[in-house]
Each structure stands twice: as structure tokens, then as C-alpha cells.
């Protein structure tokens, strides 16, 4: 029952070099935690509209699992007590989790990659409360978060631009450049 | 509360179709009967020759006859059929697409369940243009039915009360597709499934059924236990949609519950004997997923039991 006029394309997942994951694996997560907490605090301050879009889903627990890194992130956007921390393994009781290579997750968060396209190509996967995951994705997509600026101010903004160009080069097959 | 027998949605052989209506005329205690082809314009010629005799016999038996329009009208042939139907003098028409309003002379008409009437304003709009009765879309919950009945009392409201529930229409024929045929050269394979072709999930749960270009549910809607609530909502008529079971017996069952001669629970038990091995559902009316069978104490999973 196939449609003869259908065309198909394959996408090759872009992942970090395995050597990098091995190199960072033994590092402790503790120094990362204050950085993540600061980042979430700044995002909440710079992009307050995020919470309007998240609505009821702001109080949910999200797991964000970069499959090519030796740790994952636990996110509770909650307006009253927001929390973002790195964990070796995600806890079982989560509302939703999003899994995929770091490049895909960052690209989606920055709006350079389309989440649905990553999902169709099986690069990205969602488990649990799909509506919560979608609300988070859509809220972040609308916020246009500049992670470089969030972390490091104007210097980070420039650094981010350089890094983005490099990442996009790596992820062309995901769809970022196929139309240009 | 009246009973209306909806049009046969499936492609039955001309003889089966004709004999079905003859028996309905002679034996079924229904007030109105809708005839004609609603689903696929290619099937219409098979019925054409029998329609006058069927209509005559139904009317002689004291039944009000309505002529169904097509649901999806896109080809020139379908537009022509629709125009002819709308312009014929003697027939009372049940419109299933708003296309019919473009060619409607100013005279009363009925509205079938395929026209999107979800609120009192849409119902009022149609009533102003001559609609006298309206079978509401099957997915409407009871509060909406009640609100429409109350706001447009001049309109006789009807609900889809028995039968596999029509869920979707397509330009594509899924019977032809399943038989690896094109729609234009379909060889009328839909006739092989007079009660629809079952569609199950990959793990074997009954889900849908295919009727050519139309998708229906696998479960059979039955609002027997909801009749008291429907009466409170001022519903004027119940629609029974023909399935491959004894529809005369189904009509008798509904008539008996409406008349208070048997309890809905007993009627539901008997219904299982008349149409065996088919799950019954009423979720839509209860504002739930359509496949759910909601009892007095709330919902239970219908098809997913």
C-alpha cells in the first residue's frame, strides 16, 4: 500500500564525539549545580512569558537526557521554587522526559532545529506526559532564549554565535541547512 | 418520542436493500425513514430503480419518507445529483452537506447528522432557512443537545441512538485501497462487507470499520439507557442507523423502552442477542471518548475492555 510518488529521506543523527563524553564522564557534577541554578534563575528573570505559555505544566518535573553526555538534567520550572540540576541518572518519578543528542536538544532550545523534525527522524524521543513536553518545547521556542547571554552576558552572546555556527555545521543532516 | 430509521450507509445488493425497506414498511414501528445513497455517488445507480417502489410502500404504511443527500459532494456528477434532488417537487430532503442550501427552493427540509450543527446559533440559522428537523452530529454531548433543543424549540431535534457511528469521510476509498484497487476501478468491493470491514489495532482491539470512503466505529452506539435523559432534554426523535442485524427487532426494543414497557437494562440485554458480538457504546453523549460505554455510575472502557 505504498504511494509511488512518496519520497523519503534519511537523517543522520549528529552526536558529540564519543571521546568527549568519555573525557567528561569522571568529572564531578557538584561544580555544575550552582551554574545551572543561576542559569534557570536568569532565564526566569529575562523571559517571564515562558510561564504564561507553560501554564499548568510549570509545576511538572521534566527530565532532559542528552544521550551523548554522562549525565542528565532534572528540571522543575515551578514559578515558586524553580530547580535545575544535573544527575547521573534520572529518577523514576518524572512527568515527562526528553532524550536526544546534546546538539539536537540545544538546537531545539535555541530554535535552530525543529523539535517535530527531530522526533520524526527518531533523533529525539519523548516519554511520559507528552502534553507537558510539548508545552515546554513551545514555551522555550517562543522565548528565544540566548543561552550564551544568559550564562555570560554580552561576551557569551558572541561566543554562542561562534559555537552555533559550528554546531549547525555538524547537524546539517538534521534539517538545519537542507533548505538553504 | 419518535423513531427515525436512517439511510443504509453500506453497499447492500439491490435486492437486499429493497427487501430491507419492504420489511421495514410492513413491520417496523418507526415514524420516519430516510432513503437514498449518502456515502458514495458510484453506488447510487444500484438503488435508483428500486426507490419509487420502496417509497410507495413506506408511505402506504404511514411512514414519513425523507430523501438523503450525499455527504461529500465534489464531482460534477455529484453536484448534478444533488441539484436534481433539491429541485424535485415531491421529495422531502435530508441535507447532509451545506452545498444543498445553494440549490434549495424555499421549502422545508431536514438536516442530517453530517452537517456541522454544534450550537443553537447554527441550528437557528438553518431553522430560519426552512429546516424543520435536525439530526445532530453524533459527537455532541448531552448538554449541547439540551441547549440546542431548548433554544430552537420550533426545530425537532434528533440524536444518533443506534448503529456504528460515522466518524469520517474521505476522497479516498479505503475498501478499494485494501483490495489494491483504484477508486475509479473499485469493482464495488465494499459490497463484500455489508456491515463494514473491521479495523483492529495491531494488538487486536476492535477499533473502527471501513465502508468505502467512510470510516465508522467498531462499537455500536446504543442510547437505550439514556432515553429518560434524552426525553428531559426535549429530544423529539431517535435515529436508528441500519446495521447487519434485525432492525425491526431493534426498533421494537427502542419503542418498548420509549413506551415504558421494558426497563432499559432488560432492553440492553435483549439488544446483545439481536446484535451479538458487537460492543455497545454511548461515550459521546456523556462527553467522553466515543467508544466508552457509560453506565449509570459513569464510564467504563468499551472497545478496550
Amino acid at each position: 500500500m505504498s504511494d509511488p510518488q512518496m519520497t523519503r529521506s534519511a537523517a543522520i543523527p549528529a552526536t558529540l564525539p564519543p571521546g568527549l563524553a568519555r573525557a567528561v564522564a569522571p568529572l564531578p557534577l557538584a561544580p555544575l549545580q550552582p551554574l545551572l541554578a543561576l542559569m534557570l534563575h536568569r532565564i526566569g528573570r529575562l523571559y517571564p512569558d515562558l510561564y504564561g505559555r507553560l501554564g499548568e505544566h510549570a509545576d511538572k518535573r521534566f527530565g532532559i537526557d542528552p544521550t551523548d553526555l554522562p549525565f542528565a538534567l532534572l528540571l522543575e520550572p515551578s514559578l515558586r521554587q524553580p530547580r535545575l540540576c544535573a544527575v547521573r541518572a534520572l529518577p523514576a518519578r518524572l512527568d515527562a522526559s526528553i532524550r536526544g543528542p546534546l546538539v539536537g536538544l540545544v538546537g531545539m532550545a535555541e530554535g535552530t532545529l525543529d523539535g517535530d523534525a527531530l522526533f520524526f527522524s527518531r533523533i529525539l524521543w519523548v516519554e511520559g506526559d507528552v502534553a507537558a513536553a510539548l508545552a515546554l518545547r513551545n514555551a522555550i521556542d517562543d522565548a528565544r532564549i540566548d543561552f550564551g547571554a544568559v550564562m555570560l552576558g554580552p561576551l557569551g552572546q558572541r561566543l554562542g554565535q561562534v559555537l552555533r555556527r559550528k554546531l549547525q555545521g555538524r547537524s546539517a543532516a538534521v534539517g538545519a541547512e537542507t533548505w538553504s | 418520542m419518535q423513531l427515525t430509521l436512517g439511510p443504509v450507509l453500506y453497499h447492500w445488493s439491490p435486492e437486499r436493500w429493497r427487501d430491507f425497506y419492504y420489511r421495514v414498511a410492513d413491520e417496523a414501528q418507526v415514524d420516519a425513514v430516510v432513503v437514498g445513497e449518502a456515502v458514495c455517488s458510484k453506488r447510487a445507480p444500484f438503488k435508483q430503480d428500486s426507490i419509487p417502489a420502496v417509497v410507495e410502500r413506506l408511505e402506504a404504511a404511514g411512514k414519513r419518507v425523507l430523501h438523503s443527500s450525499l455527504i461529500l459532494i465534489s464531482l460534477p456528477r455529484e453536484r448534478r445529483q444533488t441539484r436534481e434532488l433539491m429541485q424535485s417537487d415531491e421529495a422531502e430532503v435530508e441535507i447532509n452537506d451545506l452545498t444543498c442550501l445553494a440549490g434549495l427552493a424555499s421549502r422545508p427540509f431536514a438536516v442530517g447528522p453530517f452537517v456541522n450543527v454544534y450550537n443553537e446559533a447554527a441550528a437557528g440559522f438553518l431553522a430560519e432557512r426552512g429546516a424543520t428537523r435536525i439530526c445532530l452530529p453524533p459527537e455532541l454531548p448531552l448538554p449541547a443537545v439540551a441547549a440546542i433543543s431548548a433554544a430552537v424549540p420550533q426545530l425537532a431535534t434528533e440524536v444518533f441512538a443506534f448503529g456504528k457511528v460515522p466518524l469520517a469521510m474521505s476522497a479516498r476509498c479505503y475498501h478499494a485501497r485494501a483490495h489494491k484497487l483504484t477508486k475509479d476501478n473499485c469493482r464495488f468491493v465494499c459490497e463484500k462487507d455489508p456491515d463494514g470491514m473491521p479495523v483492529k489495532t495491531l494488538d487486536g482491539a476492535g477499533f473502527l470499520s471501513v465502508n468505502g470512503v467512510q470510516i465508522l466505529s467498531d462499537s455500536c452506539v446504543s442510547l437505550l439507557s439514556d432515553i429518560p435523559a434524552l426525553r428531559r432534554a426535549s429530544v423529539a426523535s431517535l435515529r436508528l442507523s441500519p446495521q447487519g442485524c434485525d432492525m425491526v427487532a431493534v426498533a421494537r426494543l427502542f419503542r418498548d423502552v420509549v413506551g415504558g414497557r421494558i426497563e432499559p437494562e432488560e432492553a440492553e440485554r435483549l439488544q446483545g442477542e439481536i446484535y451479538p458480538d458487537v460492543p455497545f457504546s454511548n461515550g459521546f453523549l456523556h462527553g467522553m471518548a466515543g467508544h466508552v460505554h457509560a453506565g449509570a455510575g459513569g464510564g467504563s472502557l468499551g472497545a478496550l475492555r
Binding site: 537523517a11 520524526f120 514555551a139 | 469520517a168 495491531l202
Partner: protein, 325 residues
């Protein structure tokens, strides 16, 4: 030829404007619009700002209020219409007799488009909407082929708009209750189809199994491209065999048919995808802009591949090609 582009968020609206849209369509964050998805759509304030932004760039904003009003709650739809007009919407996209009638009477000067959800599939139906409500454009249902579209355009004075890219409804739009049969939530009443809140994914024997309202919709092998968990694009079993009995997980891509659709007299080309991210909007809109520019100048359109954006990573020209049926 106008290019009509989707926006689920203000950021997407800006992305669409910057990528070359002639008009952007969007809706309010409630059940009045047929893309009532979590985290999407516009507040009243966001729409006002969005319209102002678009108008500064010479781009139109069309507001979709294209669900069917809930009985007893028509006020919500009336307010949406009034507020969209107040915000400066260039047109309202409506489907319900009730909303069309209200908008036509209450805002006689307002431009009205008949939504694809109204399922106006022939010139008589279009004439009904044009004559009764003064509708100036109709979005055609995805059940017609190019020849049929051409003959429809010849017979009507109403402008026509067709979908050229994105999600593909296999069933006639506006008359499909498959979603509500499985979940209780329908496109017509709730503005959702196969809602995320009723979707679950699970791993079973190395396959990813998607379910909707408890019904198994599909099972994808390890590296098989995935699609939305919509009922009409799931795998099911029939006595005639198992598989994609309605349609495969594919998107519409009619880029190659743009010249034929233009010759058929179509006024506007529409891209589906208010639920997609900015990256999709920017990518798809800019490539269609380039193709249209090339066609306008009589050049051969540039070859672009948007397959990575497509559901199941596959595309079809759907009903535009006659054999699809």
C-alpha cells in the same frame, strides 16, 4: 500569488514575516481555534503586537477562529471575533455557520475567509458561503485534484487558497470524529486532533509503540522514521492485511505543483504547521518564497528538499494528483 504562513507563537510570527510571508495566520490561546495545543497561540495582547509588527512590514495577519462554537457558550466565540477585529486582523478564518453569520452581521466590513474546516468542496458550496456571508476567500479541503480545483476556480468569483506543505488530513476536514472517538477531544469542538494529553509512547521488544486514548496507533522499528500519533496515519489490521490502511505517516509537499496550481487560478498558497517550531517556519517559508520568486520571474524553481521537516520524513502531493484516491 500569496504565501500564507503559520504562527503558533509571536516568535514564529516574526520568523514567518522575516522569511517572506505575505500573510501569517494564527489564533487565540483557547478552544476557539483548531490548533489548541499546549504552550501555543496568542493572548489578546500578543495578537495586537503581532498585527502591529506584521503591518509595519507590509504583511497581513489572518486570525483563525475555526472551531465550532460550543452550545451555550457562543459568547466565547463572539468575543474572539470582536477582539480579532479590534486587533486589526486583515481577515478572519471561520468554519461554523454560527460564527460566519455573527461576523458578517456584526462586522460587515470585515474580510472573511472560509476555513478548510468548513469542507467547501465544490463551487455550489463556495457560492453559498460567498452569497450568504460575503466570504471573500475559501480554503479548499485537501480532497481535490488540480483539474478539479481549476474548474472550481473558473466557476466562482471567490478567491481560493490551497495547502501546499505540511500536515495532511486524509479525511475531509471538519467532519472527522476519529480523534474524539478515541479520546473524547475533537478538532471541531476542542480544536485538537489526537491530543498530546492522550498520547503515550512505550518501548516494547525494541519497538516504540504509540497509543492514543489506550488504542495502539503504531509501532516503529529501531531506525524507522516516526510520525504524529494521528489515527488516520496509524498501522492497523484488517482481514485484507495489516499496515497503513488509511495513509502512511507523510506530509504534503506540493512545491512541484505550484506552477500547475497557479495556472489553475489559485490565489494563495498555505503552509500548515502552527504547532511547529521557529526553525520549521523559517526554513519552510523561506524556501517557498524562493520557489515562488523563481516562478514569478519565469525561472525554473530551485530544487529544495524539505523532507527532513516532514512527518515520517516522507512527502506526498496527496489528492492534488489524481491517482491518490
Amino acid at each position: 500569488m500569496e504565501l500564507i504562513c503559520p504562527a503558533g507563537t509571536p516568535a514564529s510570527l516574526e520568523a514567518a514575516v522575516e522569511a517572506g510571508a505575505d500573510a501569517v495566520y494564527c489564533g487565540f490561546r483557547d478552544e476557539t481555534n483548531a490548533r489548541n495545543f499546549p504552550g501555543l497561540n496568542f493572548s489578546r495582547e500578543e495578537l495586537r503586537k503581532g498585527v502591529a509588527f506584521a503591518h509595519r512590514r507590509g504583511v497581513k495577519v489572518l486570525v483563525a477562529i475555526n472551531t465550532f462554537a460550543r452550545a451555550g457558550a457562543f459568547g466565547l466565540w463572539q468575543e474572539a471575533i470582536d477582539d480579532a477585529v479590534m486587533a486589526g486582523a486583515d481577515a478572519l478564518i471561520l468554519a461554523d455557520l454560527a460564527t460566519l453569520d455573527y461576523a458578517h452581521r456584526r462586522h460587515p466590513g470585515q474580510r472573511l475567509h472560509v476555513s478548510v474546516q468548513a469542507g467547501a468542496a465544490n463551487p455550489d458550496a463556495i457560492r453559498f458561503y460567498a452569497e450568504t456571508f460575503g466570504a471573500q476567500r475559501v480554503v479548499l479541503p485537501r480532497v481535490l485534484n488540480v483539474m478539479e480545483i481549476a474548474s472550481m476556480v473558473r466557476e466562482t468569483s471567490c478567491e481560493t487558497e490551497v495547502f501546499v506543505f505540511g500536515g495532511l488530513c486524509v479525511m475531509e476536514e471538519g467532519r472527522c470524529s476519529l480523534s474524539s472517538y478515541a479520546t473524547g477531544q475533537s478538532p471541531n469542538m476542542n480544536g485538537v486532533c489526537s491530543p498530546a494529553s492522550h498520547v503515550a509512547y512505550a518501548e516494547r521488544n525494541g519497538h516504540i509503540v504509540s497509543t492514543l486514548g489506550g488504542f495502539t496507533i503504531n509501532s516503529f522499528g529501531k531506525d524507522e522514521p516516526a510520525g504524529y500519533p494521528t489515527l488516520c496515519k496509524g498501522r492497523f489490521a484488517t482481514p485484507r492485511g495489516s499496515g497503513y490502511i488509511f495513509e502512511e505517516p507523510v506530509s504534503l509537499d506540493a512545491a512541484l505543483m505550484l506552477p500547475a496550481l497557479r495556472d489553475a487560478g489559485v490565489t494563495a498558497f498555505k503552509i500548515e504547521g502552527r504547532q511547529r517550531g521557529r526553525a520549521y517556519i523559517a526554513g519552510v517559508v523561506s524556501s517557498f518564497r524562493k520557489i515562488l520568486a523563481a516562478i514569478d520571474e519565469g525561472r525554473s524553481p530551485p530544487a529544495v528538499s524539505l523532507a527532513a521537516m516532514a512527518e515520517g520524513q516522507a512527502s506526498t502531493v496527496g489528492a492534488y494528483r489524481k491517482g491518490w484516491r
